[in-house]
Subunit: 329 residues, 2 copies
Amino acid sequence: MVSIKDVAKEAGVAISTVSKVLNNYPNVSEETKEKVMEAVNRLNFVPNQVAAALSSKKSGRIALLIKLNMKTQAIDEIDMQYISGAISMAREKQLDVITVFYSMIEKMSLDEMRRYFASQSISGIIIFGMNNEDKVLLKLIESQTFKIVVVDSPLVNESTSCVGINHYQAQIDVAEKTIKENMCRSILYIAGMKNSYVTEEKIRAMKDLAAKRKLKLFIRNGDFSELKARQLTFRYAKNKDIVVCASDLMAIGAMKALIEMDIFRPVCGFDGIILMGYVGKQMNTVKQDFANVSAEAVRELNRLLNGSKGRNVRLPHKLVRMKYEDIIC
Amino acid sequence: MVSIKDVAKEAGVAISTVSKVLNNYPNVSEETKEKVMEAVNRLNFVPNQVAAALSSKKSGRIALLIKLNMKTQAIDEIDMQYISGAISMAREKQLDVITVFYSMIEKMSLDEMRRYFASQSISGIIIFGMNNEDKVLLKLIESQTFKIVVVDSPLVNESTSCVGINHYQAQIDVAEKTIKENMCRSILYIAGMKNSYVTEEKIRAMKDLAAKRKLKLFIRNGDFSELKARQLTFRYAKNKDIVVCASDLMAIGAMKALIEMDIFRPVCGFDGIILMGYVGKQMNTVKQDFANVSAEAVRELNRLLNGSKGRNVRLPHKLVRMKYEDIIC
DNA sequence: TTGTATGCGTTATCAG
DNA sequence: CTGATAACGCATACAA
């Protein structure tokens, strides 16, 4: 393995000079800079990130904390998009990424968790799918031990940013569009999980929308479960004009139930997963660009690591109808 | 951050002694071993893997090399299962995992690739979705610079193992079962990509099966594309008795085409992706446990890292029919 | 502007 | 069986 020492020898300068050139230090003459870069290219040198991390204590290593859905693989695409988006951006920003699943840390205490990440030389964490029952994570965020970006949860402090689409507005947009298209008066809203931050946002959106348009709103928790949405639909949809769902998976469950009941009600979903194109009926939904959300999260984390303070970052969303013809390839 | 030095002080021994205890060296007395472990627990010490990697040069860092499907997210679940299976097993085996996508390295030369992995202190690599046009990867394997496990490609040498199900047998099993159930005489086989290792295996299986049962076999490449399978079905399925597909996605494309053609032909797929449960018609398919395949790959890589020689590892498969009722939750 | 020296947290090689 | 001590590859305060 060719090291910085080899480069130094090749260029005829000191190790520290090479290091300075590589890290864009100001006080280096153009001349030596060139000499060094030539040597770097000639030897095809790539800095050892592990050693750099150990030495500088800044590491540039970040962790992706992901909550794997154990129940269905139908929405694995969401996590996959998160991962790939993050890794791409991380490479651009020269960050090293490790992927961690909730299951690996869920039984840890705050201290154990801190040590775990510290032992990996992690300096920044991106948290996906967090809800307000993840007490230890909450404490981790409050402790400000690490720079953290939380996706889709409104947690912000000096060292913590949140990124995500505007769930409130997105929920209003998709529901309002579908309501207008079908002239509905009463709504069955199948919400997500009670302890999820976005669920509250979306419920608030639906309430505001119902008030504004003077609609009857009937809310039940579907827990992001397709089966539960199916059951709720069987039970409550008949005397409603529309079924609004907080996720595509639930929308699919609702739609399939309606077909079995042999009645028609417009249904709209949320997320824009590919599965929506396969269920036969088109539905309005909110298209989130998960890879982009995740890439933005990395970008924001990088900002935090460079000393900026936490903030709230909102990303755009789109309304779409997913058709089989459009998604196959 | 509490380091090995703190532990040594706490236990009243030398740093090197602590290291020996932690790494299960033989020549340590039970007594000191206990003292050290007590100190470790008292301080809640976790070894810094980055430092360990740097020092030992053995690293225990492995890379997952994954070919992201850019066309459709319908099969993201496969990669996701690969990733989660690998990470879980890696944690068990105390290995550090980084995820790398083909897109990040596809333009590299052999040397660049070597240096890239070396710079990350990677000592082992698991390659998913490789085909025989990945020339640089082939050379990387031949060079034996790293311990490598290849999933689903029959590449083995001193430092390289391959793992995966028996695609030949699995293809025979699922096709034969479907043929028996429907008394077919002529087959449309929609194969995968020409340059894929498994494609050859499966075609061989189909040929052997056709010969054995005296069936007419008509083969076309579907390139794992749903759209292409759809077109091939429109074109060729009418005068065949059955459509056998090398992937579920193609099977879905074929089935949807048949429905539009308003004719019935039994269709069977391969992989067991969740989407199969959503298309309305049940089909036979081969269920691969991707997470398990991946976990096995990590286990095998760990063996290689510990000095064992490369070998061929075959994993079991199952035949299933995926029903909507069974997969929702 | 450049070079020297020290340390990051481990592992590993020797003495003792 | 245990303990100094030298690497590992790099960053950085400080000296030149």
